[in-house]
């Protein structure tokens, strides 16, 4: 078998197994916690919410039937897999009687529109700046960049969002404080809507983009220091290859391992990005999730997890393939990924 085919098969096997583990976890968790906290919490919530008692019962039954707690365990599991396979993630309690899958899939595009460009751009810019800092090691430029990286990398996206919100929305009133677009507009491909959307988009984007630069910059700087100290760099230097070219060598050579970093950090970054949406009340999965957690909407929480985790797995799978294509050593079967 060709090494690349083997590589692909292996990766597919791994991701399938991970996906199944993820489903098992989501199945086992609510059943493993003693006393079934979900139902208890829901009952409690229902009692405090002074609404129509019939509607409460209805919601409770929907939850009970989705989790099928009265059936034998294996039957519950088969049911569960069957439902997930058909995109049935249950019914939201908070937005009853909307289906969780509908809610998530109408929020997901907005989350992707925020996360994908912000995360990718911060990855790229962070690597460029980190390499540059390493090239200028121990100079004032390096010190300034490095300190910025360290602080930025340790500010979670959502906290950085506070800063941006307070400064540019509350104080300077340049950007709106709330939502994904102006009230009254309906998502459409009109100029008005796009302008309003970008206006609301700027701050959440910046909080992810800027803090991301810190994370990638710190890592890239360390890796690039190794590259600049390596034998091939010394040799190219002593052959007269100019500094600008050496900088490009270092940048190119850290990009390959940083692609792994890109996918390994993704799971973490997604969580942070979802929290950022909450700060800006940006209408993505994070904002949806936030409203779900306040009302203990476990089906919504679980559904969001399944969708987001699956997306992360898919993104990682794509990155792994990309990695194999880019690194000649893997492409040619010299080392295993």
């Amino acid at each position: 078998m060709h090494p690349i085919t083997k590589f692909l098969l292996r990766k597919i096997l791994f991701y399938t197994a991970t996906f199944i583990i993820m489903l098992v976890i989501t199945f086992v968790l609510p059943r493993a916690i003693p006393g079934n906290a979900v139902l208890m919490q829901l009952r409690q919530f229902m009692r405090t919410a002074a609404t129509n008692p019939e509607a409460i019962e209805e919601r409770y039954r929907a939850l009970l039937s989705y989790f099928g707690l009265d059936k034998p365990l294996w039957e519950q599991f088969v049911d569960y897999l069957w439902r997930v396979a058909h995109g049935d993630l249950g019914v939201s309690i908070t937005f009853f009687p909307k289906r969780v899958s509908d809610l998530i899939f109408s929020s997901l595009p907005w989350s992707l529109a925020l996360l994908v460009p912000a995360y990718t751009a911060s990855w790229f810019v962070g690597n460029v700046l980190g390499t540059y800092a390493a090239h200028r090691r121990n100079t004032a430029i390096d010190n300034a960049l490095f300190s910025t990286f360290v602080v930025l990398s340790q500010v979670p996206y959502f906290i950085f969002g506070f800063f941006l919100l307070a400064t540019f929305a509350v104080q300077m009133r340049i950007f709106p404080t709330y939502g994904g677009w102006d009230v009254g507009l309906v998502p459409s491909l009109t100029w008005d809507f796009i302008r309003s959307y970008l206006h609301h988009y700027a701050l959440p984007f910046l909080s992810i983009f800027l803090t991301g630069i810190g994370v990638w910059g710190t890592g890239a700087r360390t890796m690039a220091i190794y590259e600049f100290g390596s034998d091939y760099m010394e040799y190219a230097d002593s052959m007269g290859v100019p500094e600008s070219r050496l900088l490009r060598y270092a940048f190119k050579n850290i990009l390959v391992p940083q692609i792994t970093g890109f996918s390994m950090q993704l799971g973490f970054a997604v969580g942070g990005a979802l929290l950022t949406e909450i700060v800006f009340s940006y209408p993505g999965v994070g904002w949806l999730l936030y409203r779900g957690t306040i009302t203990q909407d476990y089906m919504l929480i679980q559904g969001s997890f399944i969708v987001v985790a699956s997306s992360v797995l898919l993104a990682n799978f794509i990155t792994d393939i990309l990695y194999a294509v880019i690194d000649p050593r893997i492409r040619k079967g010299y080392v295993s990924a």
């Binding site: 090494p3 292996r10 080392v335």
Partner: protein
Amino acid sequence: MELPEPLLRVENLSKVFVVGLFTRRRIDAVKGVSFTIGRREIVSLVGESGSGKTTTAKIILRLEKPTSGRVLFEGRDVWRDLRSREDILWYRRSVQGVMQDPYGAFNPFYRVDRVFKQMFKLLPKDMDDEERWGLVEKALIEVGLNPRYVLGKYPHELSGGERQRVMIARALLVEPKLLIADEPVSMLDATLRSGILKLLMKLRDERGLSILFITHDMGLAYYVSDRILVMYRGELVEEGHPDELIESPRHPYTKRLISDIPLLYRKWSDI
């Protein structure tokens, strides 16, 4: 007449490594190697890097399991007959090793003393610590070091030659019958090599120690050995007395190897 059983007998030894996770490749590191080492004998195993000589050494030292074949020490199969912890400690007392990198052989975290202390569990149980340290001092003096200078120091405070002597002293502590010396001088400067080589020869003469001397340098093998084994790509290709081997090598590899060694008194004609 029946030949006496040699100290060490290696029979048809093979080792295959399987590397790579998704492109599995077989590497035949050692292929059907057989040889013996007699008592009071220095046998050199010569080969270039990747010829399988270090793997052979590790198998004999019981650090690496062979894929097939046997290693018999005093008639006991080292990989099959040594079962109990006692058996293994007996083997550790009988066969010791010295490694190539005199710096890497020390855990940089500890003082030099630790390498001796580690060996104490191989010494007789009824011995007290004072007697044990007495043996350490004796061993250090035997290899030409001043115990007071060496003990209590960190490895990086000693020179390469001193470190290598410490490693030899450590091995001597348990009075082994066989010493496996894997490239013991290749990382030392020329002016320090002779001292170590002389020491090894002295140990053979005075203690009756048998030594398997592993090297890539035919020149060194030529000086110290009673017998030379030449290894090439995992196989033993030639065996002989040093003078014979140098003057009239038979295997094409040995011939090329010897003709490619840079000499002092003869300049290559084809350069």
